[in-house]
Each structure stands twice: as structure tokens, then as C-alpha cells.
Amino acid sequence: MNERPQIVVTGVGPVSSLGIGREAFAGGLRTGASGLQPAGPEWGEEWSGRPLGGVADFDVGRYLESEKTYLDRASAFALAGSKLALKDAGLLPLAVDPTRIGVCLGTAFGCLDTMLSFLAKVFDKGAKYANSVLFSHSYANSPISLVAIEFGLRGYHSTVTDGVSSGLAAIAQAALALQTGQADVVVAGGVEALGHVLLSAMREPSRAGAPPGPQADTQAPLGEGAGLLVLETSDHASKRGAEPLCCVAAIGFGPHCERAVCFRADSGSAVTWCLSDSIGECFGASGALEACGAAVCLSAGYSPASEKGAPRSAEVASCRVRLTLERCPTEASP
């Protein structure tokens, strides 16, 4: 049996409060900026003034060939992130076999605001007057379907809905698909959108006798965005002359581990990095945005958590999924 293909990352498409696109995101990482801003009154009394990592000035139209009748914010992020990642990888216009390029997308909550809008109409007017457009955009796999349609990606295709690990788990599933020869390229990562439904659900769980209220003091700030990476077999990347950002050294599953990103230098010293300090808890997008950040740092030769030396590897961990990225070997390396 042949050895499993080596996998590399050839593009990233981050959409976050820290910046949209590789350059802006990397700039934010380098300067240690924060994407958190006080929430405006539109988020309601409980959240107004509290730090939120909302993606400001986001215009999905910039990333699409044609205007869409309707898009949930999660779908919009997925489309933008995928476009940015594919472009960063030099894959647009698509000149690879469309049946060999897939998508794996993770999201903890999918399209909650669309789900609620759909159900509100059903409650109000009855099932006979349900809105088919809203329903078809309300599935957890609506974002991934729209990505496949927009970019003509007919290959391996799967949505992971695994809570906060969703994006990282989708990247791991993409790696498995590449290792088993089911695809040559997979656009993989996670998306999550802030919305009224999510923010209202993130209140402190109601306990008997206690009034509902935000988990203000104990809850980490919330955020949103998309982290998409282009994973590719190294053979396929090299044949088309693509320059990888980094290699996928390993994927691991179970048992439960803490969520963290750990950069290791050649010397073996390790530093821990916490992206959510800068962009908030982004649920299904968080691990994927961390992976984007790790890929960018490994490629550029710096660690966001330390000034000292280029990192050799980064391990991104979330609950039962682990992804280890490594700096690509150079000609001079052994």
C-alpha cells in the first residue's frame, strides 16, 4: 500500500474582527491588536457596551460574482472566507478537476437567525405560508452548499456541527479525505455569525428562582467570523507550482483536551497563544481562525505570542481534535 499523501496548506481566508483576508489578519496578529469593540445598542440592553468581536464593514458583495436574493450571515462569511482562501492559494479561476476539490466546513450553530425568521412566519401565518427561501437557507449545511455552488466545488463535501470544535474538526475531516485519496484539494475551516438568537441564548442558563441575565462577568467576549484554509496534497501543490504556507504534520482525535494553540521553536521551547483574547469566543470558527493564524505565522516566521525566533510548529487543540502544523522544510534543512 502506498504511503499516505503529505498534506500542505496553500492558502488561507480569514474573516474576523482582526481583519479580513490574509494580509489584514496577519497585520493584526503581528501588532497584537484587538478586534473587540463595545457592542452597540442594536444588540439589546444586556449586551450594549460589552466587548464583542463583530466583523465590521463586511460587504459580502465584494467576494461574489452575482448578487444573492438572500444570505444568512454565516453563509456570507463562508462565501467570503472560501473566496479569499481559494484566491490566496492561486486556485481562482478554478483550473483543477472540480470533482477532486471539496469543502469541509464546521459551524456550531449554523444559520440561527434564518431558522428563527422562518419559524416566526410559520407561527404567525401557519405552515401553508412558510417561506421556502428562508427554509432552504436555514440548514446547517446551507453555507457549505452555497460555497460549493458559487465556486463549482464538486468533490468531497461535509459539514461538521460539533460545537466549539466544529471548524477544527472540519479541517481534520478534510485531512482524512486527502490522506485516503478522496480529494486532491479541500477548502476547510469554520464559520460562526453573531446574531440576536445566539446572543440571547448565551445568557446565563435559567435556574429555578433566578431571573435570566447575561453571563456578563464570567462569560468571555463573543466574536464571529470565518477561518478557511486550502488543504492540498503536497504532490498536487507542487505540480501546479503552489507555494505552501506550512505542512499538516499530524491530526489527532480524543480524548478531551483543553483548547489552546501551542507554538514550539526549534529549541523546543513552547509558548501558548490565545486568539480569543483578541477576537472573542467564535465557537465553530475559533479553531479554524487559530489554524489560519498559525499557518500565517509559520509561513512568515514569527510567533504572535513571543518575539523570540521563528516557530517550528503549532499545535491547535479543541476538545477532542488536535491539528499540528509545521514549517515547511527548506532545501537547507535536513
Binding site: 500500500m1 499516505r4 470533482t99 471539496g102 469543502v103 456550531a108 450553530f109 449554523g110 428563527l116 422562518f118 419559524l119 416566526a120 410559520v122 401557519g126 405552515a127 401553508k128 412558510a130 427554509f135 432552504s136 437557507h137 436555514s138 440548514y139 446547517a140 449545511n141 452548499s145 452555497l146 460549493a148 455552488i149 465556486f151 463549482g152 466545488l153 464538486r154 468533490g155 468531497y156 463535501h157 461535509s158 459539514t159 461538521v160 456541527t161 460539533d162 460545537g163 474538526a169 475531516q173 482524512l176 479525505a177 490522506q179 485516503t180 478522496q182 438568537v197 440571547s200 441564548a201 445568557r203 442558563p205 435559567s206 435570566p212 482525535f253 480524543g254 480524548p255 477532542r320 481534535v321
Partner: protein
């Protein structure tokens, strides 16, 4: 070197029954579990019938304490418990629990819990049902089952609309093949709710009369609920503990038509590609397939497109073997469909008899395969293909073989 993957346990909950034996007996008898919708007001729905789970006692089937989890989670738990029992693990897994995982899938998560939360959110006053939101989460069933049975290995939940069940089996097989686990519980679950039925109704995928897959007068599908869970295991691991092997999982494929969210792609090329890819992944040829468990929803377009795809990929073999859809008997179990149907396929291999396509009355010249109309048929099935497809344009196929 990839490890070989076998099935050592199965569990089913659907409108035909809440255990494997009842399910299979009624399926082979040509019965349908579809009946009047009783759990909610069906006013305004295209059809007032569905495949509701009828016989299900959570107090008896669930863990001690009868925790108040969503119905969808209950279905997944009960099917998992049956699969674990059959695999000889009802008292818990032996050995390293970090080598035992789950891949579940669901379209809607805890549907009733979502509606309860949504209702509270839309009301101007009163308490927000945040606990209900917790029970709605897509990954809740996997979390609950993992905790209940002490499964500490890989844990994933997928959501691939009606390809979900098949995609869970495929990913679970890959986890074992590549050495990330020795055992993985895999399958899909969904429960019927107003939101689901109203949405599927307005998309006009639901028939106003009976579901008749491949019949000339077919006009749509009828949805059902439930769960199908399989215990996938590394063959070497199963041999070591002398577990009874029910089937082998040879391979699978997933893809997307990349055409439209709800309209089918012209020419059905996406399905052709997924069937070809599944055979390649399984390293088998068309001539080796003895039975196809079709997606067969009973919609006008889909059934003929699927027939054409089967013919294109299997060639003359398509005319030599039975091709049946059990959706008229079980309802379309949504995320559970692919895994419930995989279980039916494995039972067909075990007993040498394939389940019928019920409600079949009038042949359609465009659908001219042997759909096993109404009555189960004896057949030696050594290898089979199970097909699924879902909203969003995704397709899935799993290749199964007798032990």
C-alpha cells in the same frame, strides 16, 4: 496500511419499530409505518401523514433517571444502546475508552427543543428557555451518548442534510482505517417537528398522497423520524475479541452537485460521480454489486435521475440485480435515512432477502429496473451499494459487503 472495517452492532428506531428485529420483520412483511401526524397540528402541511415513531418508552429505553433530553437525542441513545448490546458492550466498553468514538449526524438537532426556545424568544415577555437551546444543539446527542457510555475517543457530529447518515458511516470508517479509533458508533438521527415539516412541505418535496418510489404516478416523499446507529470496528480488533461480524464497510464517497440549493442538477452528473467514487474507494467493480438500496424518495425528478445514474455506473449489471427503496415503509428519516437504510442492507445480506419498495402500482418506462415491488424477494447479496442525497445538492454512497 489501512485497517479493514467491519460492523459488529446495529440499532434502529423508526416508525416501523424501536428495535432491529421488529423493524426488519415489518419491513419484510411489506408494511408501512406511515400514518396520521399526532405529535403536532398538521394544519397547512402538504400531507397530514408522516412516519412518526409510535412505540418508544424513554423510561424503559433510556438511562436511569430518565433525563429530559430532546426526543432526537432519545432516538440516538436508544439506537446506540441496541448497537452496543449487539456488539457485546451493554455493560460498557472494555479496554481503552479513548479508542472508542462516535460519529453522529443530524439535520435539525433537538427539533422540539429548538421550537420551544424559539417560541420563548419570540414572546415579548416571560422566561427565555435557554435550557431548551442547550438541548437543541446539534452535538447534544453525541455528547449525551458519549457520556452515558464512557466513550472517550473521537467525537464528531455532521450535518449533511439527507446524506447525513451515510456520511457518518463513511467518516467513522476513515477514523478506523487510519488508526484513530478501534470502535466508532456511527449514524444519523432526527425527530419531526413543525419547523421541519412546514419547511419540507413548502419546498414541495412532500407528496399530497402516498409515497411511491419509482412508480409512474409518484409525486413526492413522506418524512419520518428516528435513528440508525451502527457499531463500526477495526476487523483485527473484532477478531481479537471474537466479536460476531455482521458486515464489512468497504468504502464510501461524498460529493456535491454544485448546482443549486434545492433544484436537482441537470443530467444527475453529481450522483454518477459519487457512485463511481464509492466503487473506487471500495476497490470493487460494478459486476460485484448484488443489490442497490436506493435513495428513492418518490419525487418525480429524483427517482429517474437516480435510475439513470445507477444504469450509467453499473452498466448491464443494473438490470441483473434488485434495486429497492424502503422510504415508503419508514418514511424519509432525514439524517437517519442513510444509516437506517445501511442497516436494512446488512440485514438483507444476512438473510438473503431484499426488502420491497411498497406502494408500487404503475411501472414507469423511464424507471425500468427491478425495484422489488411490494413483496420482499430472495436474493444472495454478497455486496451492496446504499445511496443517499440531500438538500443542498450533496450525494453519498456506501459500499457494504457480507462478512
Amino acid at each position: 496500511m489501512s485497517r479493514r472495517v467491519v460492523v459488529t452492532g446495529m440499532g434502529v428506531v423508526c416508525c416501523l419499530g424501536s428495535d432491529q428485529d421488529t423493524f426488519w420483520r415489518r419491513l419484510l412483511a411489506g408494511e408501512s409505518g406511515i400514518g396520521p401526524i399526532t405529535k403536532l397540528d398538521p394544519t397547512g402541511l402538504r400531507n397530514e401523514e408522516a412516519g412518526e415513531v409510535q412505540v418508544f418508552d424513554w423510561e424503559a429505553l433510556g438511562p436511569e433517571g430518565t433525563p429530559p433530553v430532546d426526543e432526537a437525542t432519545q432516538f440516538a441513545y436508544a439506537a446506540s444502546a441496541e448497537a452496543l448490546r449487539q456488539a457485546g458492550m451493554e455493560c460498557g466498553v472494555q479496554g481503552d475508552a479513548s479508542r472508542v468514538g462516535l460519529v453522529f449526524s443530524t439535520n435539525f438537532g433537538g427539533a422540539a427543543s429548538w421550537e420551544s426556545f424559539a417560541e420563548s424568544r419570540l414572546r415579548a415577555t416571560g422566561r427565555l428557555e435557554v435550557a431548551a437551546f442547550n438541548e437543541f444543539r446539534f452535538e447534544r446527542a453525541a455528547e449525551f451518548v458519549a457520556e452515558a457510555f464512557g466513550l472517550r475517543g473521537p467525537k464528531m457530529t455532521l450535518s449533511n442534510s439527507c446524506s447525513s447518515g451515510a456520511s457518518a458511516i463513511g467518516l467513522a470508517a476513515d477514523l478506523i482505517r487510519l488508526g484513530h479509533a478501534d470502535l466508532v458508533l456511527a449514524g444519523g438521527h432526527d425527530s419531526l417537528g413543525l419547523s421541519t415539516l412546514a419547511g419540507l412541505s413548502i419546498l414541495r418535496t412532500i407528496t399530497a398522497e402516498k409515497c411511491r418510489p419509482f412508480d409512474k404516478n409518484r409525486s413526492g416523499t413522506i418524512f419520518g423520524e428516528g435513528a440508525g446507529v451502527l457499531m463500526l470496528e477495526a476487523e483485527d480488533h473484532a477478531k481479537e475479541r471474537a466479536a460476531k461480524v455482521l458486515a464489512r464497510v468497504l468504502g464510501y464517497a461524498l460529493n456535491n452537485n454544485a448546482y443549486h440549493l434545492t433544484a436537482p442538477d441537470k443530467g444527475g452528473q453529481g450522483m454518477v460521480e459519487v457512485l463511481r467514487a464509492a466503487l473506487v474507494n471500495a476497490c470493487v467493480t460494478a459486476e460485484q454489486i448484488d443489490y442497490v438500496n436506493a435513495h428513492g424518495t418518490g419525487t418525480q425528478y429524483h427517482d429517474v435521475a437516480e435510475t439513470q445514474a445507477i444504469k450509467q455506473v453499473l452498466g448491464p449489471r443494473a438490470y441483473q440485480i434488485p434495486v429497492s427503496s424502503i422510504k415508503a415503509a419508514t418514511g424519509h428519516v432525514m439524517a437517519g435515512a442513510g444509516s437506517v437504510e445501511a442497516i436494512a442492507t446488512i440485514l438483507a445480506m444476512r438473510d438473503g432477502v431484499v426488502p420491497p419498495t411498497v406502494n408500487y402500482e404503475t411501472p414507469d418506462p423511464e424507471c425500468d429496473l427491478d425495484y422489488v415491488p411490494n413483496v420482499a424477494k430472495s436474493a444472495t447479496v454478497r455486496m451492496a451499494l446504499s445511496i443517499s442525497a440531500g438538500i443542498g445538492g450533496n450525494n453519498a454512497a456506501v459500499v457494504l459487503a457480507a462478512p
